[in-house]
Amino acid sequence: MIEFVLSAAQSVLMIALAPLFAGILKKAKARMQHRNGSSIFQPYRDVAKLLRKNETVSESSSLLFRFIPYVCFGSMVLLSLMTPFFFVDVAAPYGDLISMVYIFTLYRLMMVLGGLEGGSVFGGMGSSREMMMSVLIEPSLLLSLMALAGLTGGSTAVSDIPRELIGMGVIVLAPALVLAASSFFITLLAENSRVPFDNPSTHLELTMVHEGMLVEYSGRGLGLMDLSSMMRLMIFSSMLCTLFFPWGMALTASPFAIFVGLAAIFAKVLFVTLAIALIESYLAKYRLFRLPNLLTASFALSLMAMISLYIL
């Protein structure tokens, strides 16, 4: 019983903390540019403000347009129930890594449809670019997770992997894990529309990918879409921190283990957030047709992880 309460609590915590880490990311970027930046709690205020507002919906869009934010938000809530955070068990242990990948795909598909729904040029351009990237992201994302599953004995169940990895001890820090984790980190940047794939803070409608698809949303719909994309970043970071580097997670429900688990996950997610901020500050956005190269590199890394696992 206590396990279930803990795993439900960690999902709620994940959703609640998503805007905070988005705020920390913005703040870190601002500090690196010698700016003060807005408060780390600003994303909470932004989302709260948007959720209170009415929506303006394009006349050319269908009913689907209004449903999409809820579908996107729902799929992210579902994923947060499936992802471990500080505790090893998850509230919804029914899915595995593959279903997680395809819930992300569902989210992306919905967003792409939403971009096309409004009938605006920028939505269409954003959607077409997103689909181009998605074709390249999916194989490397799947392959890096497969390498992880192979490393831990072949199970793709989410809650088995951290246990297995911790049980294996230091020996697990094999090339396969590091390669798969690097590949996963590149897909994290691509999937979450970060620099060098996309510029989340751009004002240039012609270069937008993710923001282009959201251009027609307003009010509550926009609030939900923004919240969902913050949650997506949070879920990806927690996957990196719990599936690939699970050390410190609470394996039992003892208060001490939970305390250590919380501290460890905070430190790890903060580290990932700062790494993203650093990359965004020192890298220019890549030319659009240069992005496949980077995603191919990610694919090659996870392929190497597989090879080192099964052949070497």
Binding site: T207, E280, Y286
Partner: protein, 467 residues
């Protein structure tokens, strides 16, 4: 229509002598119109041809750089250039228009399977000027891009038609706010004519004009960094620009240097402390700007975006008569400060930076080197300045006068016809006007997400173009 072959021949003759078409416009005279063409190079030549009726033989097929001016003449005076290959509306609109006889914006003249047209603007996501762009794309590569401007038209030329003795500097400063000094100096040339301006005033005018250039170029460099999502150099560049803006405010009370220039000289002298402060600040900016561009070009991801992007060939730059840093980045050797020095430019040594490749990187490099030159010129001027008056009285004569200056964006032309002490026709040609078609050429073959970067590297003015 024999009279206009005359126009074409006269322009052609000047082109062969190395002059370029700097400006062309129509002027109403009793019983008809005359076409005026101003040819500029190492000297200025004026061509005047009378038009009978409301139509004449277009010179554009022969001289491509005349295209814009002929379209403008049609919209302002209704004189049709027969045989003009491209009579799209320039500034007027059917739904809304400051000029009568507005026409609808046509679709791009390009057809085929899978070719889409993307209309963008005039309202943009960022805080920039209003401009409507039509991209014809096949996937991401741009096959054709057409600009439709005119949304910020205010009728400045008409406002300038006052008594020649009236001080219109306040209007001239507002033609293109961040090029205020260059525009005002061009205006002053038309009314000060041959008056000998005190030397101290000329030196200070040069200093102000170069401060304006540093400020504008820093803004562009920072914008280029921002458009490639290179956040740290972008913030660094904005901070540098801000430090110059604040310097401007301290020395003359306005961040964009408005209100300093007056007919006959300056509205106030700069004190020794102000000059010392300028000297200190520009020295600092010189090193910081060098470091800033260094950070940018040492980043491989930035260089990948900047090199070969938005290439404007030397031939196109010459044919369209692009001006300013844009032309110099395509290898054209043109700088009014060097060819026909005004203010105190004849007294200071300067180098005209050029770059042959014509891409975003070349325009960045030219701008960086111009900042270095500007700093050197400011220091030279401050060092050779002597105490003296900064204002004199001016007697304006009747006749035709041109004022041509080099603004941060390039050659800026003002023409004034003065009759009986009154300006009867005033024509302004901002540096951005001939550079917009150059932008249309430069984006061809690039991909849509690179357009904002190319546009920023051109750094064109909307208000200066729309007038």
């Amino acid at each position: 229509m024999p009279e206009t072959d005359e126009l074409s021949q006269k322009i052609r003759k000047c082109l062969n002598e190395g002059l370029g078409l700097a400006c062309m416009y129509a002027r109403g005279v009793p019983g008809g119109h005359v076409l005026e063409a101003v040819m500029a190079g190492d000297r200025i030549e004026r061509i005047t041809v009378r038009v009978e009726g409301m139509m004449y033989q277009s010179v554009t097929p022969d001289i491509p750089s005349a295209s814009l001016y002929e379209r403008e003449i049609y919209e302002t005076h209704g004189i049709y250039p027969a045989g003009h290959p491209d009579m799209r509306p320039l500034r007027s609109r059917s739904s809304w228009g400051p000029l009568s006889g507005g026409r609808a914006i046509p679709h791009n003249d390009i057809f085929g399977n899978g070719i889409f047209e993307i209309p963008v603007g005039p309202i943009h996501a960022g805080v920039i000027g209003p401009g409507h762009f039509r991209f014809s794309v096949a996937g991401e590569p741009i096959l054709m891009m057409r600009t439709y401007l005119g949304y910020s038209r205010r009728g400045v030329e008409k406002l300038m038609e006052t008594q020649a003795s009236a001080d219109n500097t306040a209007i001239a400063e507002r033609i293109s706010g961040d090029n205020a000094v260059a525009h005002t100096l061009a205006y002053l040339q038309t009314v000060e004519q041959d008056t000998e301006i005190p030397e101290r005033a000329r030196f200070i005018r040069t200093v102000l004009s170069e401060l304006e250039r540093i400020c504008s170029h820093l803004g562009t460099i920072s914008g280029i960094a921002l458009d490639t999502a290179l956040a740290v150099p972008a913030a660094h560049g904005s901070a540098l620009r801000e430090s110059i803006l604040r310097l401007n405010e301290r020395i003359c009370g306005h961040r964009l240097l408005w209100g300093m220039l007056r007919i006959g000289g300056l509205s106030k002298d700069l004190t020794e402390t102000a000059l010392d402060e300028i000297e200190r600040e520009v020295m600092r900016v010189r090193f910081d700007a060098e470091e800033l561009v260094g950070i940018m070009i040492r980043s491989p991801s930035f260089m990948d975006r900047a090199e070969t992007t938005g290439r404007l060939s030397y031939e196109d730059a010459v044919h369209l008569r692009a001006v300013g840093p844009v032309a110099r980045a395509s290898g054209v050797d043109a700088d009014v400060r060097k060819t026909r020095p005004y203010a105190a430019y004849g007294l200071a040594a300067m180098d005209v930076p050029k770059c042959p490749s014509g891409d975003v990187y070349a325009r960045l490099t030219v701008r960086k080197r111009e900042i270095m030159e500007s700093v050197s010129m400011i220091l030279q001027c401050i060092n050779s300045m002597e105490d003296g008056p900064v204002r004199t009285s001016v007697k304006t004569e009747d006749g035709f006068y041109t004022g041509i200056t080099e603004s941060p964006r390039g050659e800026t032309v003002h023409c004034a016809h003065i009759e009986n002490g009154k300006i009867t026709k005033y024509k302004i040609r901002d540096a951005s006007f001939p550079n917009w078609p150059a932008l249309e050429r430069a984006v061809m073959g690039n991909i849509v997400p690179d357009f904002p970067l190319i546009n920023k590297s051109f750094d064109l003015s909307y208000s200066g173009n729309d007038l």
